[in-house]
Structures are given as structure tokens and as C-alpha cells.
């Protein structure tokens, strides 16, 4: 194989793996913003919480990897419910500025709270033995963990898509995104729907934070440092669009890996420039409705 081809495959592989993590974390944010019209800047904090749950369960309680990942998702989702009921629900459809400030306040609290429980250092993640090393996929070897990320992310994306297209819950969500007032008028309990969608989105973020801990390292400032990446994915994909989030995550994941590999001297500059260019072309995102 030529060197260029090898490099291309490698960039694509790592880019797609990163994209899966971005997708899992951002999809909940996209739904919250599209469905409830709520600018939830603290979304990354839920992803961070998932990461902390994973590392704590694994290192302190010796829980195996997969159950710990599942617990990270479930616990983060459950944890988000009282926050949604007590704080977020008051501001649905309200002033964006209030939402922005409320969630910035929550980010600050999450930074301090997490430092209090876990300290300021990066939490080490040790993937289990069966996910370490490399695996042969016929024509060459790939890092096993990356293969796991891609397979897991693709499976979940399919599951989410099926859930939204085929289940009554998905139908209700689509109805509420399309026309909230009409959905309420035909008897959909949107308040309960919002709560479930929020918990699901937060749970997915926790899941993404947990399995992506190797790529986006778990530190107290996680919610602040990575916020822009999640927002970019949502804005490029278009609010409330699952397909949009998926495509946007792929675009950002692959191009970020590409730029880092080819033009590391520019740092994150190029990814921001690309974002501006895409939004200049399509202000409402690739799959957004005007």
C-alpha cells in the first residue's frame, strides 16, 4: 500500500472513532435545543459526570468495563432528572439569556463540585485487556479500542434512529419538534416527554463521556473546554436533527483528525475556520430548517 493510502485510512479510522464520541455526546444537546428550545451550555458537564462515574466504578470498586459504562449512562440520566424538573423546566421557551446564564452558573458549580469529589487531576482510564492492543481487520491492524468505539457508536446511532422512527415515544418527539402546540393539543404530555428526552440525552452524553474518556480526558474543566466542540456539532448539524448531528459529528471528527495529522502547527484554528465557512454557507446548519 502506498504511504498516502495508509495515512488516509489511519486518519479516517481515528476521525470516525472520534466522531462517534462527539455524536453520542452532542445528540442529546441537539434534541434539547430543537425540542425544548433550551440553550443548555451545561450539557458537557453531564458527559463529564459519565466519565467520572466510569473511572470511579472501575478503579475504586473494581466493576468491569461494560457494566461500568452502562452504569455511567444510567446514573447520569437519572441524575439529570431532578435538575431538569427543578431548574430547566422553568425556562423552556423562555428568554435565551436566562438559559445561558443559568447553565453557565451550573458549569461553574460542576467544575467546583467535581474538584471537591475527585480532585483537580486528570482521571486515568484503563480500558480492559480485551479492548487493548490491536486487532486485525483482514488487510491491516487497527487499535481495538477504536474499532470498539466505531462499532458501538454505529450500533447506538442505528438504535436511536430506529427508536425515533418506529416507537410511539419517537413519534411523540418528532411531533413535538415539528409543532409543539399541535402536539399538546392532541394530548401529548409534553412536560413528561421533555423530561424523558432530557434524561435520555443526558444519559447518552454520560455514555459518550465514559467511552470517550481516552479522547476527551476527564478533568473538572471538561464542560468548559469541550463545550465549543459539542456546540459546533449541533449548529452544523441543525437543531433537533439526529441525521444532522451524525453527519456533523463525522465532518468535525474527521476534519479535526485530518488537520491535526497534516497541519498541527495551526492547532484548532482550522476547525473553527471550517465551522465559520459551513455556517456562512448554511446559517441554519446542514440539516436545519429555516
Amino acid at each position: 500500500m502506498s504511504a498516502t493510502l495508509v495515512a488516509t485510512i489511519s486518519v479516517l479510522f481515528h476521525g470516525v472513532a472520534f466522531a462517534m464520541v462527539l455524536y453520542l455526546i452532542s445528540v442529546g444537546l441537539s434534541v434539547t435545543m430543537g425540542l425544548m428550545g433550551f440553550v443548555n451550555l451545561a450539557h458537557g458537564a453531564f458527559a463529564m459526570l459519565g466519565g467520572y462515574v466510569l473511572t470511579t466504578l472501575m478503579s475504586r470498586f473494581g466493576v468491569p468495563f461494560l457494566p461500568a459504562v452502562a452504569a455511567a449512562a444510567v446514573l447520569t440520566g437519572l441524575f439529570s432528572i431532578p435538575i431538569e424538573r427543578l431548574l430547566y423546566a422553568r425556562f423552556y421557551g423562555g428568554d435565551e439569556l436566562d438559559q445561558v446564564l443559568l447553565t453557565i452558573g451550573l458549569i461553574f458549580m460542576s467544575v467546583a463540585g467535581v474538584t471537591w469529589f475527585w480532585g483537580p487531576l486528570v482521571q486515568p482510564v484503563q480500558p480492559p485487556a480485551w479492548l487493548s492492543g490491536e486487532i486485525s481487520l483482514g488487510f491491516r491492524n487497527f487499535p481495538t479500542y477504536g474499532v470498539f468505539l466505531i462499532a458501538f457508536g454505529a450500533a447506538l446511532a442505528t438504535l436511536l434512529w430506529l427508536g425515533l422512527e418506529r416507537t410511539p415515544f419517537g413519534v411523540q418527539i418528532r411531533a413535538a419538534v415539528d409543532n409543539l402546540k399541535m402536539a399538546q393539543a392532541i394530548g401529548i404530555n409534553t412536560s413528561q416527554l421533555f423530561m424523558l428526552a432530557f434524561a435520555l440525552g443526558s444519559g447518552l452524553a454520560g455514555l459518550g463521556g465514559a467511552i470517550g474518556a481516552e479522547l476527551l480526558s476527564i478533568t473538572p474543566t471538561y464542560g468548559l473546554d469541550n463545550l465549543i466542540f459539542f456546540l459546533i456539532v449541533v449548529a452544523i448539524g441543525g437543531l433537533g436533527s439526529l441525521r444532522g448531528s451524525f453527519v456533523a459529528a463525522l465532518v468535525i471528527g474527521i476534519s479535526d483528525t485530518f488537520f491535526e495529522y497534516l497541519l498541527p502547527q495551526f492547532g484548532a484554528f482550522l476547525i473553527y475556520a471550517l465551522t465559520m465557512a459551513i455556517l456562512l454557507w448554511r446559517p441554519m446548519g446542514l440539516f436545519g430548517r429555516t
Binding site: 443559568l102 452558573g105 465549543i228 465559520m276 446559517p283
Partner: protein, 339 residues
């Protein structure tokens, strides 16, 4: 007109009252002298706090620039630090490379920031809501990444040092006690405040309020909405740039923090604490935030962030107009009781 007036005599009375209300709006009230009187008192009474005082003044100007876009034009921005940082780096780089004249340096900071505001505004203001918010954040992050990588000019992570700022007018050198710096900041902030006050009370300023309250109606009335937003965005960027330049010149140091999301977020918090869209929110919110931050970090040096965050949540939940909003409500209640 005469018959109209005679048939409905109350109309002319209502008109007269409306005109009076609008005329009174921009008249100077005695209370407006309070911030400036306090600033002079600080100079006279507590000279040891002058360096901190100069920082408070520059931050007030920064918050005032945010109030202009946020409170008057209704543009929610998470990237105001982009302009603050541009101004700071412009003045800093000039002073580090042989042009230490402070006033032209400050104006250059404002001008370059205004240019960045104009160019980014052309892109950013095409959108609304979340997309707009996100793009303001992207612009600031873009500049942060650029400043970080262009370390041969900006000093990167280590910060820009080696600044040499000349005396003001060639007469008043920046002294160790911060006296010159304080007076310099005070004068610049006062002039900027005066200009901003004129701007928001002008017909242009009223039309901005119209855009904030109802974009659709302003469009229907034929107001050039985007052009007005772009103008105010640029002016606000210039003010933020001047604030950044002041900080750079008075502290003789610039680091990447001037462009950070932290700074954009904090300035919003300060503004909300004081009260948005009322020109004086900055004057109340900034000192209050700095006092609160000092108090919290004295009580709890590691976790003071938590208390700032909690304060923020409580303000959003219970005191939406900020301190000045609470004050207004109190005054209204007292008035009702005494009537």
C-alpha cells in the same frame, strides 16, 4: 388639526405627556453622578487600592460594551472577549515593539477591535439564536487558537512581556502606585460612558431597543435591522477593544486569558448581576462581582467557583433584573405605600 384637538382634547394632553416622558428620559439625573463621585472618593481616600481600582474601571468599560450589544440590541454573545483580547494584544504588541504612546495605542486597540467586530459581525449576525451564540464563541476561540499558535508575536502561553508604555502626553509617567493609571482609566471610561449614553438615547439607540423587542415589526417598518445591528456590534467591539488596551497598558502584560471563554462568560455574569440594558448595570455588577469573588475566595479558596455559580443560578431564578432591578422594585413598592 384644530378641530381634531377640540373633539378629543385628551389626545393633546396624552401627547404632551408622552413628549415629556421621552424628553425626561435622557436628562441627567443626580444619581448618575454617584459612580463618578465614588471613583473620585476612592482616589482621595484609599490610594492603596488604585491598581485594583484601575482594573475595576477597565472591566466596567468591558461590561458596558457587552451591555450595548446584549442589553440594547438583544444580541446574546459568548465571544465579547474576542474584541477585548484584540484590543489588549494590539496595544501590547505596539508597546512591545517601540510605540509606547498610550493614547494612540489605546485608540489603535479600539480600531483593530472594531475592524474584527465589523468583519465577524458580517458573518455572525446573519443568524439568530443558538447559531449566533455559537458563532460568537467560535470567533473568540478562533482568535484564541491563532494567538496561541502565533507565539512569535504574542508570546503564546507565556504571555506578552517587554511592554514599555510612555508617559501620557509625555508628562505623566505610569507610577508604581497606579495613580496615573487610575486617572487615565477613569477619564477614558468616563468619555466612553458619555458617548454610549448619547448613543442609546439617540433615535438610533431607540431603534435598537425596537429590534430587541420585536425584530419582525422593525423589519415590517422598513428599518435596516441587520445594518443597525452590525453598526452597534462594531461600536461595542471598539469599546471592548479600548477596555482591553487599557488593561494591557496599565498592567504592562497581556496573556491568552484576555481571549478566553472564561472572560466572555464572566462579563455576562457581572452584567446580569448589576442589571442588563440599563447602562448602569456595569457600574453596579462589576464591583459587586469582584467583591463577591474576593469574599468567596477568602472563605473558600479552592471552591469559590461553586459559590459564584450558585449566585448566578439564584440571580436567574429570583432576581432577573439584577441588583438594579431589585432596587427598582423596592422603590416602586415604597412609592405605592406612600401614595
Amino acid at each position: 388639526m384644530a378641530t381634531y384637538g377640540s373633539v378629543r382634547p385628551d389626545v393633546s394632553e396624552a401627547n404632551r405627556r408622552a413628549v415629556e416622558t421621552f424628553a425626561r428620559r435622557h436628562r441627567y439625573r443626580p444619581l448618575e453622578a454617584l459612580p463618578w463621585a465614588s471613583a473620585l472618593l476612592v482616589y482621595a481616600l484609599v490610594p492603596t487600592y488604585l491598581p485594583l481600582g484601575a482594573q475595576v474601571l477597565t472591566t466596567i468599560l468591558f461590561a458596558l460594551s457587552a451591555d450595548l450589544v446584549l442589553g440594547y440590541a438583544g444580541i446574546i454573545t459568548l465571544g465579547q472577549a474576542a474584541f477585548f483580547g484584540t484590543g489588549a494584544y494590539t496595544a501590547g504588541i505596539l508597546a512591545a515593539h517601540g510605540w509606547g504612546e498610550p493614547i494612540t495605542g489605546m485608540l489603535a486597540g479600539g480600531a483593530v477591535a472594531a475592524l474584527v467586530g465589523l468583519v465577524s459581525g458580517l458573518v455572525v449576525l446573519r443568524t439568530t439564536g443558538l447559531a449566533l451564540l455559537m458563532q460568537t464563541l467560535v470567533v473568540a476561540s478562533l482568535l484564541y487558537a491563532a494567538a496561541n499558535k502565533a507565539s512569535f508575536i504574542t508570546g503564546g502561553d507565556d504571555g506578552l512581556s517587554g511592554m514599555h508604555v510612555w508617559p501620557i502626553f509625555g508628562i505623566f509617567p505610569f507610577d508604581l502606585y497606579g495613580r496615573t493609571a487610575y486617572v487615565y482609566c477613569l477619564v477614558v471610561v468616563f468619555v466612553c460612558w458619555w458617548l454610549t449614553r448619547r448613543l442609546v438615547h439617540s433615535p438610533f439607540g431607540r431603534s435598537l431597543t425596537g429590534i430587541r423587542e420585536n425584530v419582525l415589526r422593525m423589519n415590517a417598518l422598513g428599518a435596516p435591522v441587520m445594518r443597525r445591528q452590525l453598526i452597534v456590534y462594531t461600536i461595542s467591539a471598539a469599546l471592548a477593544g479600548i477596555a482591553g488596551a487599557l488593561l494591557a497598558q496599565t498592567t504592562q502584560f497581556v496573556d491568552l486569558n484576555v481571549l478566553s471563554l472564561d472572560r466572555s462568560g464572566t462579563v455576562l455574569i457581572m452584567l446580569i448581576l448589576g442589571g442588563v440594558g440599563r447602562l448602569y448595570g456595569a457600574f453596579v455588577g462589576v464591583p459587586l462581582y469582584m467583591i463577591a469573588q474576593n469574599a468567596f475566595s477568602a472563605i473558600d479558596p479552592v471552591y469559590w467557583y461553586f459559590w459564584i455559580g450558585l449566585l448566578m443560578v439564584l440571580v436567574v431564578l429570583f432576581a432577573r433584573g439584577g441588583v438594579l432591578g431589585l432596587f427598582d422594585r423596592l422603590v416602586d413598592r415604597l412609592r405605592l405605600r406612600w401614595q
